[in-house]
């Protein structure tokens, strides 16, 4: 990493001035308002639009989960709020309503919350800022990627109100349950709207991923080599590649299912398939085909749902440990390894599906191996903390909990990778525990870490640290209470997706544990009121933040808080990697990426400003 040549005169190097940091002068008029705040092409506004929309859907998905938990803990009892829909029956929900609840909980969380918040909100906001660009490569495409989410919101939202209710075939939407309109109440309009919504989300993601890849490859600031990129950007970059290659398969499969449902084709239905005494369709297809196509996308999707969080957590840990990232290159290679291997493990969702058991062996081997890069990353995080000077800010606490919880989620994956064990735990709560640990206890904690961390940059004010820690503490306790015992339920064989499991001899003693878990879940959702209040209050009345409240190194902290159009006062020029914390011989405990190449020059620059 050789620094660029020092020019003769100015001690501090600046590039040509670009844009202005102050806010734009108000020019009035509706079209101006629309183009600035609604149909904006500024990546920061788009990022915030994604953030607000996904946080709102996070609330909806969480409430759906509470309804699921209620039924699992106290089946056929009077459900709060929703019970009014079933007033005739005294408030007890119908079984198909339950299947809809868990289907839509998962669909909303995966497609409308986690994927858009990582790539759409944080990817959009951070990528140009962290690489030193003034915006994305394709600003109009970027705006479209946000607005394509709105038809998706409309489709998913409307599906709750159509006859038969929202989709209820599971978020995995397996045929022939989902392809045959007679197979379940929601297998009519609800399922069709679900497929359409998915298509829109897919288009939005594709537009985004094209943008991110191009921007990261072509628009980096001078001096920002690939191996000086912060881990956040590496993660976003590789995630974008994953999206681009995997998503078309899901879109194609979605069209095939729509075609089966509406045009009478038989991609996924065998001949003579009669469901609920309805006339059989054309047939000639295979239900397993959908599973292969679906999981070919959805397995990389789960890495799409964690890699950005891993990247952001890596960055946050270094800032608050005041230490360089341990093993930068291995960390990059690990992310690439996870992504690459992620394309050849999809069959581990199908071990029991009836596919050739020999494939069970091949997928088992590749799945075992994908645990390796994740393990390497975990060790490197621990290495990052070793010998550090840890500041326990709210953001850091969430980042640390990501590591702690990811360990649990990752290790539990090994059980299901082992095919003989999977015979027993497939489709039980062991699986539910695993993915909630990686997705909620992992990614969502990472997302909160990122929100608390980058909030000052987004809004120019910091969130309240005390209430942030209260939020963290309660969420941490309640989420472990809700999800850890799911491993135990899975060990008993407690199946997923059952509206009432207690009439089985094997499971009828598990009700008290489920009741405990539901109390914890209620606590967890209630805790988010604190977060919401903190977020909203701090947006308008929080203490003003400077450019770099955390004394971090990466480029976004050189821009004003919040940055204006064009992001930076002057074109940033990068002289070093992003993790130069506690450099020996330097008085400041961090050297920003844009700080001049030698220490004396740095000191003089500090004196001059």
């Amino acid at each position: 990493m050789t620094p660029p040549p020092v020019t003769a005169t100015p001690v501090v190097e600046h590039g040509p001035a670009v844009g202005h940091a102050a806010g734009h002068a108000p020019q009035g008029g509706l079209s101006h308002f629309l183009s600035t705040y609604v149909f904006s092409k500024d990546h920061k506004v788009i990022g915030l639009q994604f953030l607000f929309s996904t946080l709102l859907w996070f609330l909806i998905g969480g409430l759906l989960a509470l309804a699921v938990r209620w039924q699992v803990a106290w089946p056929w009892s009077d459900v709060p709020v929703i019970g009014k829909l079933f007033a005739q029956e005294g408030g007890q929900m119908s079984p198909e309503f339950y299947t809809m609840l868990f289907t839509m909980h998962a669909s909303v969380m995966i497609f409308l919350v986690i994927i858009p918040i990582l790539a759409g909100a944080f990817g959009n906001f951070l990528i140009p800022l962290m690489i030193g660009a003034d915006d994305m490569a394709f600003p109009t495409l970027n705006m479209l990627s946000y607005w394509f989410m709105w038809p998706a919101f409309a489709c998913f939202g409307a599906s709750f109100f159509v006859e038969g209710g929202a989709a209820s075939g599971g978020w995995t939407s397996y045929p022939t349950l989902s392809t045959n309109p007679a197979s379940s109440p929601a297998s009519g309009m609800g399922q069709t709207l679900w497929l359409l919504g998915l298509t829109f989300v897919g288009v939005s993601s594709m537009l985004g991923s094209v943008n991110y890849m191009t921007t990261i490859i072509l628009m980096r600031a001078p001096g920002m080599t690939m191996f000086r990129l912060p881990m956040t950007i590496w993660a976003m970059f590789i995630t974008a590649i994953l999206q681009a290659f995997a998503l078309p398969v899901l879109t194609a499969a979605g069209f095939m299912q729509l075609s089966d449902r509406m045009l009478g084709t038989g991609f996924f239905s065998p001949e003579g398939n009669v469901v609920n005494n309805a006339i059989a369709g054309a047939g000639g297809g295979q239900p397993l085909l959908w599973q292969h196509l679906f999981w070919f996308y959805s397995h990389p999707a789960v890495y799409i749902m964690i890699l950005p969080a891993m990247g952001m957590v890596s960055d946050i840990l270094t800032v608050f440990a005041r230490k360089p990232l341990f093993g930068y290159r291995p960390m990059v290679y690990s992310i690439a390894g996870i992504a690459g291997l992620g394309f050849i493990v999809w069959g581990h969702h199908m071990f029991m599906s009836g596919m050739n058991p020999a494939l069970g062996i091949t997928f088992m081997v590749s799945t075992m191996m994908i645990a390796l890069p994740s393990a390497v990353k975990t060790f490197n995080w621990l290495g990052t903390l070793w010998g550090g000077k840890i500041q326990f800010t709210t953001s850091m606490l969430f980042a640390l909990s990501f590591v702690s919880m990811f360990i649990i989620g990752g290790l539990s994956g090994i059980f299901m990778a082992a095919t003989p064990v999977d015979i027993f735990i497939h489709d039980t709560y062991f699986i539910v525990a695993h993915f909630h640990y990686v997705l909620f206890a992992g990614t969502a904690m990472g997302v909160w870490a990122a929100i608390y961390f980058w909030f000052p940059k987004m809004f120019g004010r910091t969130m309240n640290e005390f209430w942030g820690k209260v939020h963290f503490f309660l969420t941490f306790i309640f989420l472990n209470g809700t999800f850890f015992t799911m491993h135990i339920l899975g060990a008993v064989g407690f199946p997923r997706r059952l509206a009432d499991a207690y009439h089985y001899e094997t499971f009828h003693h598990l009700q008290p544990m489920n009741a405990f878990m539901t109390y914890c879940a209620i606590g967890m959702v209630a805790t988010q009121v604190i977060f919401a209040a903190n977020f909203i209050y701090s947006m308008f009345w929080g203490p003003l933040a400077g450019r770099n409240p955390w004394n971090a190194n990466t480029l976004e902290w050189t821009a004003p808080s919040p940055p204006g159009h064009g992001n930076f006062d002057y074109q940033p020029i990068v002289h070093r990697g992003p993790y130069e914390y506690s450099v020996p011989g330097v008085e400041k405990d961090h050297l920003m990426q844009t700080d001049p190449p030698n220490a004396a020059a740095a000191a003089a620059a500090a004196a001059a400003h």
């Binding site: 360089p324 009836g354 010998g387 702690s404 027993f424 094997t506 598990l510």
Partner: protein, 266 residues
């Protein structure tokens, strides 16, 4: 001082993770919140693999989480004087903690292949003992009848009440009439999806008599939760006697007396 107390508090909170985690797994079996009783022959290899992985991941879990706690405790800013250690990484460590997990995982992968092949690939050469056809929302059973062949007019048709002999190989032919279902016998460590359009063999041997649950383990619609079946394992003689009773009932030409109508169907 306040900051140090805070650091201690957070470190101890993270220490609670391995402590309570291990405690949960240690205490659960005492409350019957653990693997259900296994009456199959192959179940022991599945259970022992489960325990092996549990031990392995348990050790890794405890070590990594305790390290995390320890680093949080020791490297608290309120406790540290001077600068943090400026180190970019360690090539040696990277090699060590790549090779060792890789070898372990590879060993684990190879070690379990036999167990999988036994349950899913090495089908015994025999004709089906029973055909189980999953349907929204019940298990329809068909026994071959006195001629021993499935698909002839003397087949025995039943619902949900599966009987099988112990101490001999049993072959179940699994089909589905409508949508995906999954034939899950928790106490036999057997699970296989029933796919419409496919005929999938499932085989096992039970060592012990008893009555256990059949659970549907693949979402099949609103009634997925009520697809409860019962499998009764009994000695061959009792099994044959039960079959005879059922053949007789299926050929009943007189309604049995009222009280016996239900009891006789047992």
């Amino acid at each position: 001082m306040g900051k140090r107390l805070a650091g201690i508090f957070w470190s101890l909170l993270f220490l609670a993770v391995p402590v309570l985690g291990v405690a949960t797994f240690a205490i659960a079996p005492a409350y019957d919140h653990w693997l259900p009783k296994d009456v199959s022959e192959h179940g022991a290899s599945i259970d022992s693999l489960f325990y092996f992985i549990l031990a392995l991941t348990g050790v890794v879990f405890v070590v990594t989480e305790v390290l995390l706690f320890w680093f949080m405790w020791k490297y608290d800013e309120a406790k540290q004087q001077g600068q943090a250690t400026y180190i970019q990484g360690s090539h040696t460590l990277e090699v060590v903690w790549t090779i060792i997990p890789a070898a372990t995982l590879l060993f684990l992968a190879i070690y379990q292949m036999n167990a999988w092949a036994d349950v899913k690939m090495r089908r015994p050469a025999m004709s089906p003992t029973v055909e189980v056809v999953a349907r929204q929302f019940e298990w329809r059973l068909r026994y071959p009848g006195r001629d021993g062949t499935l698909g002839t007019a003397d087949d025995l048709f039943l619902v949900n009440d599966l009987h099988l002999p112990i101490d001999e190989d049993v072959l179940v032919q699994l089909k589905s009439m409508d949508v995906l279902h999954s034939f899950f016998l928790p106490n036999v460590r057997i699970k296989q999806d029933a796919v419409p359009g496919m005929k999938i063999p499932v085989w096992f041997k039970a060592r012990e008599a008893g009555e256990f649950d059949i659970v549907c383990a693949e979402l099949c619609g609103w009634g997925h939760y009520k697809m409860k079946g019962r499998v009764t394992f009994e000695p061959r003689a009792a099994f044959d006697a039960w079959l005879e009773r059922k053949y007789a009932e299926q050929g009943a030409t007189q309604p049995p007396p009222e009280a016996a109508d239900m009891a006789a169907a047992e």
